[in-house]
């Protein structure tokens, strides 16, 4: 197994960016790699970014974080934002793209 590293920006504030990074992380996972998220320089992360990133990954790889196939290297402030998104996902909150089409 290889270990890929994704470098995050200083400010993580849009769902678009969260989605883009999640797709890159999933691509690396599919290639049978561990992924390290290097968010050590990130100073803040919005709930929208964290949700788009975390929930996109969990929808395809539900054990990615628990199994440590994706490892987050970040300060407490950023880590709490990602943990909150994992918690939301576990409580049933989903991205608008992950919900069944309403009838």
């Amino acid at each position: 197994m290889h270990c890929a590293t994704l470098q995050f920006e200083r400010t993580l504030n849009s769902a678009a960016e969260g989605l883009k990074m999640a797709l890159r992380a999933l691509e690396a996972l599919r290639a049978d790699e561990f992924v390290t998220i290097d968010a050590t320089t990130a100073e803040r992360v919005t709930p929208s970014f964290a949700n788009a990133f975390v929930m996109t990954i969990l929808a395809e790889a539900p054990d990615a974080f628990k199994s440590h196939r994706i490892r987050l290297d970040a300060g407490d402030f950023v880590r709490r934002a990602f943990d909150a998104s994992i918690d939301r996902y576990e409580r049933g909150i989903r991205l608008s793209t992950q919900r069944a089409a309403p009838r």
Partner: protein, 280 residues
């Protein structure tokens, strides 16, 4: 020529037919002819949300409306630093004053990566906020701006006005759009189509996971419906106050009490979110 004359001051409590209401109604009533002149000569004080309303009016008039500045010198100086010449004719450019101002104002049509940091860092220079408080405020501002730009379908994008109050170590931020209202947005999602009033729409929008977005939003991004929920939680968990005005209602959220809702007449075609952040 139509002229809008605004009254002396706004109490800042969203009550009474004063400055903000005058301007808000002129800006938000889409069927109404816009005033070509805004008369502030009798004005002595403006709150950030009142300034946001004023700028929205100027933006909606494509910068063609003229502004008669306040006769009160303090109030006039205060406005000079805002560079209202971006939205009105007849006002001085105040770039030099703007550099060290306790107040910032801008209009956004597209998400801008570092906008919230620039606003909050600029205001925080006047305050003794811890770094993590500034980060939290920038996060909330980012979410509010993205909400306005992605959900509102506002012809002017959104207007952001922020002011630092060093004396009581607080920040007030107003984000205003002239879009489809919260109820209009939520009703696009069949799950929320049954929402019967603007009051209910405001309350629903502050519940975790509630969004009007089905699939992707106008910028092609997913949405999770947590921005206003997190802001409400932040305000109710501390000393801050959140006010959301949309359509024919506004709701207030603060710590130590349940939300309160009030009627707005005539109906405002847009959404105004005003937050008074107090640290601690």
């Amino acid at each position: 020529m139509t002229s809008l004359r605004v009254s002396e001051a706004d109490a800042g409590d969203f009550r009474g037919e004063r400055l903000a209401w005058d301007v808000l109604h002129a800006a938000g009533a889409h069927e109404q002819t816009l005033p070509s002149r805004v008369d502030l000569t009798q004005t002595v004080m403006l709150k950030p949300y009142a300034i946001a309303c004023l700028i929205a009016l100027g933006a909606k008039a494509d910068g063609q409306a003229s502004l008669a500045p306040p006769l009160d010198q303090r109030c006039a100086d205060y406005l000079t630093g805002l560079r209202l010449d971006r939205w009105f004719t007849g006002v001085q450019s105040g770039e030099a004053e703007a550099r060290d101002s306790t107040i910032v104002a801008d209009q956004l049509r597209h998400p801008a990566g570092d906008f919230a940091d620039r606003v909050i860092n600029g205001l925080a220079r006047h305050l003794n906020y811890a770094v993590n408080v500034s980060r939290e405020l920038a996060n909330h501002l980012d979410e509010l701006v993205l909400n306005a730009l992605t959900h509102a379908e506002s012809p002017i994008g959104c207007v952001v006005v922020g002011q630092a109050f060093p004396r009581n170590q607080s920040v007030e931020i107003a984000v205003l759009d002239l879009g489809q209202t919260i109820r209009g947005h939520l009703s696009k999602n069949p799950r929320h189509a049954q929402i019967a009033s603007d009051r209910d729409a405001i309350e629903q929008a502050t519940i975790e996971g509630v969004t009007g977005t089905v699939g992707r939003n106008r910028f092609g991004d997913p949405n999770s419906g947590v921005g206003l929920y997190e802001l409400r939680r932040f305000c109710e968990g501390g000393k801050s106050t959140l006010t959301i005005l949309s359509g024919s209602a506004y709701g207030c959220f603060a710590s130590g009490q349940g939300p309160s809702f009030h009627a707005v007449l005539p109906r405002f075609a847009g959404c105004l979110v005003d937050v008074q952040f107090l640290s601690g």
